[in-house]
Amino acid sequence: MLNRTDLIIKSQDRTDGQSISEYIAAGGYGAAEKAFSMPREAVVNEVKAAHIRGRGGAGFDCGIKWGFMPQPGARPHYLVVNADEGEPGTFKDRKIMEQNPHLLIEGCIIGCYAIGAHACYIYVRHELHLAKERLWTAIEQAKDKGYLGKHPFGKSYPVDIWVHTGAGAYICGEETALLNSLEGKRGEPRLKPPFPAQAGAFDCPTSVNNVETVAAVTLALRSGGDAFSRMSLLHEFNDGGVRLFGVSGHVKRPGIYEAAVGLTLRELIYDLGGGILDDRPMIGVIPGGSSCPILLPSEIVDVPGDRRFEPFNGKSVLDLPMGVDTFRSIGTMLGTCCAIVLSDAADPVLACRNLMQFYKHESCGQCTPCREGCGWLDRLLEKIVAGTATMNELNLASEVASNIAGNTICAFGDGAAGPMLAFVQKFRASFEDYIQSGGSKQTRRLAL
């Protein structure tokens, strides 16, 4: 059900962002003040009740993650905010940082307190210069007000926040690569365990959370955790609150829209996104960033044995509420909740190739299956598009992708393999047409 809200990006249409006085006038920093008057554990419980599923892609529950942090002891704890936004199709965190930076800063203050940290690093992708500038300004303003520093809200619990920046590498969005990068190293993912909660930044207990997740924490403390969770249509799935939905590609009104969790793809694409450009048919939609396997509008929800799916079974996947577990159950992922829409003007084989060029370029090269596999897929796709590949090579492409999945240090490998397998399976005829007749039936273009 379409239930639009304006809690995360109230100042959506303002290019200058929101000033701290406006933010405070609307109740801003009240949530942090409230949190600082509560015991640490109670704050974590409030976040647990909010059922904030990680907005960075994996959908892990924020309260549960914070619950894994050890009791504060001799070693410092760190909160690290993932603002490396680089997943193709994703452009929501930038919106929060540019247009409502205080919502994030307030969440960082609450987060530090909740996990026993006194220092927070916001790792911002280097290219996002405006976002960095707005965050630094917001930090200075919060410091001036006494919300940050030695005695936030009069309590002797020092909190400092710094903006840190990368230098251009998609893989640094992966949380352990991000930590290596923060420590001044090459941004290569680490083997897990140990998990960041045990040994993260500077070998100390650390929680890495996405920008939107941390912003949602502010909202949860403001309204109360349970009330926040119940704003969602998927409260029953422990997938709470409101979130940002992005839509790009072949829609009339691409952009970021805020709504209760549980919006459907049809509502996102047709109601909010204004429908398909030139009113053409849609051939597919990548639901939440390029690593999520593509869905066809003809696919039907079929999840037997779970009562919660009864209202949706037999319907189009476009009418299934968008949630972490609902989308996992239909063989794709919700990811970052930013959809990429393809009309029939787009050639699915070229779309697949475009994405595999991305993965080949961005593999960090540590694991052989990922490094070699992504390069191999790119070369096979080049041959397919050139019309010089054989049917065996098409099958080989699926085999190579299957061999990457599950055999790597980080989830990048799965993120590359999943889309490749889905494209070949769901658009097999288009791939075969390239092999048999050089793509004579394909549009051979991506743009309209």
């Binding site: 997943e87 920046t165 190293k185 952009g255 787009a346 743009a447």
Partner: protein, 165 residues
């Protein structure tokens, strides 16, 4: 000639180092600072300077520089243009934008104009997919591009001495 920072830049260096529990963490921010101070690239002298400031081995710093695409191992043109090529932009015509840039500048992606004014490159998704097609010039995003607007932008690079720093 050995690389050095102005006193103002040195003060910034101090501030950066103070943010972290270990000096090494200042490596990337300091490389950005030095790159700006050194005509937008990391020379061997810069590597030695950063290594010495942070008590790191030059080979560590070299390894870091080679990992990140925005740390330039060679001097780029006065202006850097990145055209986003990834899927959301491609669906809205980034290929035509890139071709037009190549034609207007008379260079291929990855090259620098012979007068050293502009380096043209492609970028992977720049988190601006809802305003595709787009490109970045130096530190600024230009979104919802059309070929007409692109012409104006490229023209402005020619006449201006230097865009936003």
């Amino acid at each position: 000639m050995a690389f050095s920072l102005t006193s103002e830049q040195s003060a910034e260096l101090e501030q950066i180092v103070a943010r972290y529990p270990v000096k090494q963490a200042a490596c990337i921010p300091l490389l950005h600072l030095c790159q700006r101070a050194n005509g937008n690239w990391i020379s061997d002298e810069v590597i030695l300077f950063v290594a010495e400031q942070l008590n790191l081995s030059p080979s560590h710093v070299t390894g870091v520089v080679s990992f990140y695409s925005l740390l330039n191992e060679k001097p780029p043109g006065k202006h850097q243009v990145w055209v986003c090529r990834t899927l959301s932009c491609a669906l809205r015509g980034s290929e035509a934008i890139l071709k037009h840039c190549e034609k207007r500048l008379g260079i291929k992606s990855g090259e620098t104009t012979s007068d050293g004014n502009v380096t043209l490159r492609t970028a992977e998704c720049l988190a601006s997919c809802g305003s595709a097609p787009m490109l970045q010039i130096d530190e600024k995003y230009h979104e919802n591009l059309t070929v007409e607007r692109l012409d104006t932008l490229l023209e402005s690079l020619r006449s201006e001495p230097k865009g936003t720093p």
